[in-house]
Amino acid sequence: MSARQIRLATLWRREVNRFMKIKKQTIGAPLLETFLYISVFGAALGSRVGDLHGIDYVVFVIPGLIMMAWSINAFANNSSSILQQKFQGAIQDQLSSPASPLELLLAFSLGGFARGMIVAVLTFIAASLLVDLPVDHLLVLVPSLFLVGFFFSQLGVLIGVRAEQFDDVAFAQTFILQPLIFLGGVFYSATLLPQPFETLTHFNPVYYMINLIRYGFVGFSEVSIALSLLALAFATVAIFAVNLRLFSRGYRLRA
């Protein structure tokens, strides 16, 4: 391995090590939360709702829950890890190393990405044991999940870098991220909403992400798959470019 590869692997290992040391909080709790959503919205309410667009309600909900698990965990991991390290001053050990801004950014991003992926995969396995969950379009599902995971990893990095106190991270997660996800159609179809809420939903970027993942699993979408995938790829590249610029400038990282 080259020095650069060792460096990148160590930076990433540190991120994974951090969340694995508190796995009850970082893996166990979100897994339980997702399982409770499946139980309440899927099993309990689902029996009354029946089908949605010809799909069993619990099956309709699960793709959105998998996306939600990956995105929220990727975001929460990176935002809190960066803020914690800034708070402790421990980030100085990494900033004073030969690591480039790109290496630092990739390591921070992939830490949350890994945590989100673990929770999402475990959610998928648990859901598959409970219901018959199809995977209709693997070639859409895999890139969509990876892009969603990477997008929210980047968003977590952005908020973590900008944050000066834990309140800043909590605010972003509670007042921005969660409403966007919940109102993006995880638990319902936007076509069921009255106007103007149906139209407003189309301005929520998470709506398109949920539809991509849902299409990957059950083959149903309310939006154009190609256009959504393209927009998601563009948004992910854009936020990555913004973060790289911040890391290169040392924005709120270096004095």
């Binding site: 020095a3 402790q88 421990a90 050990d93 004073s96 030969p98 270096r254």
Partner: protein
């Protein structure tokens, strides 16, 4: 000609708040020397160190470490520097052993070498028994040892010690002094900041005084004292900070007068 261990030219640092922490600092440290940087709080010592190690971005000027640029194309320069900061900036999630291992990994040290070096430094700094403990459970002295061990993990050619003995007991201070002298004799260049003037006087080949972001005197401790027209480094420092009434010689004269 062998490049300087540290070559700083016209370094300026202005913080976004408008504070001018460094105002055209130029400083050169020869390889193998033990150099002391002294000055009152807020003089610019830590800012100078942060600019050298990438923790702060200079507003103007140049920094080279063993001939390598330390500001823009900083890879080689950073690899040559080890930093033991003033504040214990340890990662609470890591154990003592992980702290050393990860640090060396950030510098690209291969796994086998990291393992050997970790064992060696744990032993040197009497940390072997604490290797599995999380850093947040360590005492202040143990944290100080770990910070120094961490700075040494990647075998830096220039070691920067920012107030390494602040708040440590006499035993540990002497232990650290011996270690610093030993690695200096083995060839490591050392930049030391300290508030203990006797420490600087005993350990350092050369000393610089920094005040209000500028180097105001540089040389051996005798040369620096002479520059201020006094006979000791302590008196020179008191002249620098405008508190010469605190000089021991003044106090002794005053005591004699009272006794007489």
């Amino acid at each position: 000609m062998e490049p300087k261990a540290l070559d700083i030219a016209d370094l300026e640092k202005r913080y976004p708040t408008g504070v001018e922490a460094l105002r055209g600092v130029s400083l050169q440290i020869e390889p193998g020397k033990l150099f002391g940087l002294l000055g009152p709080n807020g003089a610019g010592k830590s800012t100078l160190i942060h600019c050298t190690t990438g923790l702060a971005q200079p507003t103007a000027g140049a920094i080279e470490v063993f001939g390598h640029d330390a500001i823009d194309d900083y890879g080689e320069a950073r690899a040559a520097v080890g930093l033991a900061p003033q504040e214990p900036n340890l990662d609470w999630f890591l154990t003592v052993e992980e702290t050393l291992d990860y640090h060396a990994g950030y510098f690209g040290v291969p796994k086998r070498e990291r393992r050997e070096r970790t064992a060696e430094l744990l032993e040197t700094f009497s940390l072997t028994e604490k290797r599995g403990e999380r850093t947040r459970t360590l005492s202040g002295g143990m944290k100080r040892r770990l910070i120094l061990a961490r700075a040494m993990m990647h075998r830096p050619r220039l070691l920067i010690l920012d107030e390494p003995t602040a708040g440590v007991d006499v035993e540990l201070r002497l232990e650290l002094w011996h270690y610093v002298q030993k690695i200096n004799q083995e060839g490591t260049t050392i930049l030391l900041t300290t508030h203990y003037l006797e420490e600087a006087e005993q350990l350092c080949d050369r000393i610089a005084f920094i005040a209000e972001g500028q180097i105001v005197a540089e040389g051996s401790s005798a040369e620096v004292a002479e520059r201020f027209g006094v006979t000791s480094l302590e008196d020179a420092y008191l002249e620098l900070v405008g508190r010469k009434e605190l000089s021991r010689s003044h106090i002794e004269v005053a005591a004699d007068e009272v006794a007489g």
